[in-house]
Amino acid sequence: MNRKTMFALALTGAMTLAASTAVFADYDHEAIENSGDITITLMVSGVATDNDFETEVLPNLIKEKWPNVTIEATKLPDDNYYTSLKTKLASGECPDLILTQPMYAGQNSCYALAEAGYLASLNDLDTVQGRQDMAAVTYDGDIVTSTSGVSILGCYYNKDLFAQAGIESVPQTWDEFLEDCQKLQDAGIQPIVMGDKDQYVLQFGLYQIAANEIYSKNPDYDIQLRSGETHFTDEGTWDKVLEMYKTLYDNKYIDADMSLGYGASQSITDFIDGKAAMTFDGSFNAPALTAEGAAGAFERGYFPIPGTEGVYTATCLGAGYSIYSGSKYIDQCKEILDYWQDGHSDVWKAHLATGRIIPVYGEGAETVPNIDLFQPFIDLMNEGKGFYWCNQAWPAGTENEMEVLFSEMVGGQGTEIEDITEGMQEKFEDLLED
């Protein structure tokens, strides 16, 4: 299938699905009871910790619920996970349950895997019935990833340093944001620290500005990008976003001389040590960014970078779990996913307790760690002001070109805004080819 039409098809499918989900509730809800002793394999990415949820807690809780089910879980660092996943898919030995990302995000993107026929349809899961927010995990009419959480991009800030610079409230417009940066700088405080040596962190700021300046005006921008109606080079779109972000470097609110040699973890350390007032990062890094550093337990806040005409947010569905289409235990996996994601089971509560997901429904959603930081973003999303992260809709690799060229620009290599947008467009078209 042509990939340009595929994207449109997927979204159309999602809408059709939303209207007709009620008729799909027909998988065998007693599959586990009738199975005898079975082993379900699960593979996720990440680094296992003490009493790890996926590798220890989940298998134990599932065993308690269904003594005949053994969950054999493997957790691998990201790169190993991607390589292992591809190898296992190629050899037909894929685990029954795998971690996948919405749309085209990453090498485990649910659209790419669904296109290749590797994912089972989850339309008949009880926990997806009636949900209207599943478009990003729906391919060609089939929900292929079960996810209950969102991921947020925003700006963490140090309330003490804001007060020290005389800033009383979080900015509501881009101009106010720049004024606040200036106040901080005038007070001798580094306004923003970023770890641009890990170039992916550039996405944390740029996608927020894009939500304000592009998607709020044209939510179909990426669909049109694939059909050729819009281009990265269109005036007032990415040129504006890049120009706005560049302003932060031009004024040394982000110091490129430092940031290009700083890793992501080093910038987090600087923030919690009180060496900078703000840093752009995701909800997934909240535990590290709210930890106590050399500056002690100062109060932290989290706000969406405002745009020129209001505040929108880059908040979207997070990663979730898919069932391998070649699994012998598809219905059994569905029972497990339904139990896990039902909003009140022990597995659900244990998953919430990890603090790694921000659920959009269910018991305890209001008690997850740092929910007070995230609530304004969830509210914005519920008001229809939340947009997915740009790279979720782009073929993987487009964002890397953007990061590389932006680094060259702020690093004084003579790269201009139009070089970046042209480079992004060229890369986008190249990646869509074939």
Binding site: Y82, A112, Q199, G261, L405, G412, D434
Partner: protein, 305 residues
């Protein structure tokens, strides 16, 4: 009639130690070599003419399109340039330092066993560990070198080798040299220990200076060791990947993207496995070409010396 001794066929295996049956024992090793080396290499050629994305096996043949794309999109030029600079820098530095230290540690000094161990010590760590350690050594401001500079009254925050487009490649090459010179030194040391002491003695009696002993006796006698070391360093330099991946992720910009890093990125970030295979085939041919040229040149020099 008495039995006549059987006449052996010309060329027949008459060895009592390595009989024909012994070839059976080669089969497992040969099978593994075929399965794990020859077959993947052939697969590489095969994928290089397809649009395989690493996931979907419903791919098409695209002829030589991947090769022309690699040649035309500029990634090959940039990564080739970075790789050559990296290789030349690491080959020269690791061999000069390795040989100098081997010469020193081949003399009669106290604690030379301890010093030899120290020099080889970095080679024992994995590239991941070394990469992380050096990321902190190079970190602007709070890093080891930055701190030292601050302590002596200089601006430690201005020291940012990994964040500078001009210095990043050399900064990671220095790490490669730091980790690798111990191995080079050990090989030189082994070579130097084969030099007959009587030749050096004769040279001294004839009034040779230390430099003349090195230039006229030691170096010619260890020329095969030099060849081995240089070739190994060239191959390692041309295959550079670890520190670009761990310390800079190819940045800032594209300044530390080497051939192998570019192959990795094309395959696993852009998900263009077919194009990455074409890239690998070209890199493979390039590395073989350079290695063969170096080998011929150094062998010729060995004979001249």
């Amino acid at each position: 009639m008495a039995d006549m001794p059987k006449k052996k066929r010309k060329g027949a295996n008459t060895s009592l130690v390595f009989t024909n049956k012994m070839y059976i024992f080669l089969i497992p090793a040969l099978a593994m070599f075929l399965v794990f080396w020859i077959y993947p290499v052939l697969q590489l050629f095969y994928y290089s003419i397809t649009n395989f994305n690493g996931i979907n096996y419903d791919f098409d043949f695209v002829g030589l399109k991947n090769y022309s794309k690699v040649l035309s999109n500029g990634t090959l030029t940039n990564s080739l340039k970075n790789t050559m600079i990296y290789a030349v820098f690491t080959v020269v530095l690791s061999n000069v330092i390795g040989m100098a230290i081997a010469m020193i540690l081949n003399t009669r000094i106290r604690f030379k066993g301890f010093f030899r161990t120290c020099a080889y010590f970095p080679a024992l760590f994995s590239a991941i560990v070394v990469g992380f350690i050096w990321s902190y050594v190079y970190m602007p401001g709070a890093g080891m070198i930055g701190n030292l500079l601050t302590n002596i009254g200089l601006d430690g925050t201005a020291f940012n080798p990994l964040g500078n487009f001009r210095t990043a490649l050399y900064a990671i090459a220095i790490v490669e040299v730091w980790k690798g010179f111990g191995t080079t030194m050990i090989i030189y040391l082994a070579g130097l220990q084969t030099v007959d002491e009587s030749l050096l003695e004769a040279g001294r009696i004839d009034g040779c200076t230390e430099w003349q002993l090195i230039r006229k006796i030691k170096l010619p006698l260890i020329s095969s060791t030099v060849t081995i070391n240089v070739i190994l360093s060239v191959i390692a330099g041309l295959k550079a990947f670890d520190y670009s991946f761990i310390m800079t992720n190819g940045g800032p910009g594209k300044s530390t993207k080497t051939l192998m890093f570019q192959v990795y990125e094309t395959a696993f970030t852009d998900m263009k496995m077919g194009r990455a295979s074409a890239f690998s085939v070209m890199a493979f041919a390039f590395i073989i070409l350079i290695t063969v040229i170096m080998l011929f040149y150094l062998n010729k020099r060995e004979v001249e010396l």
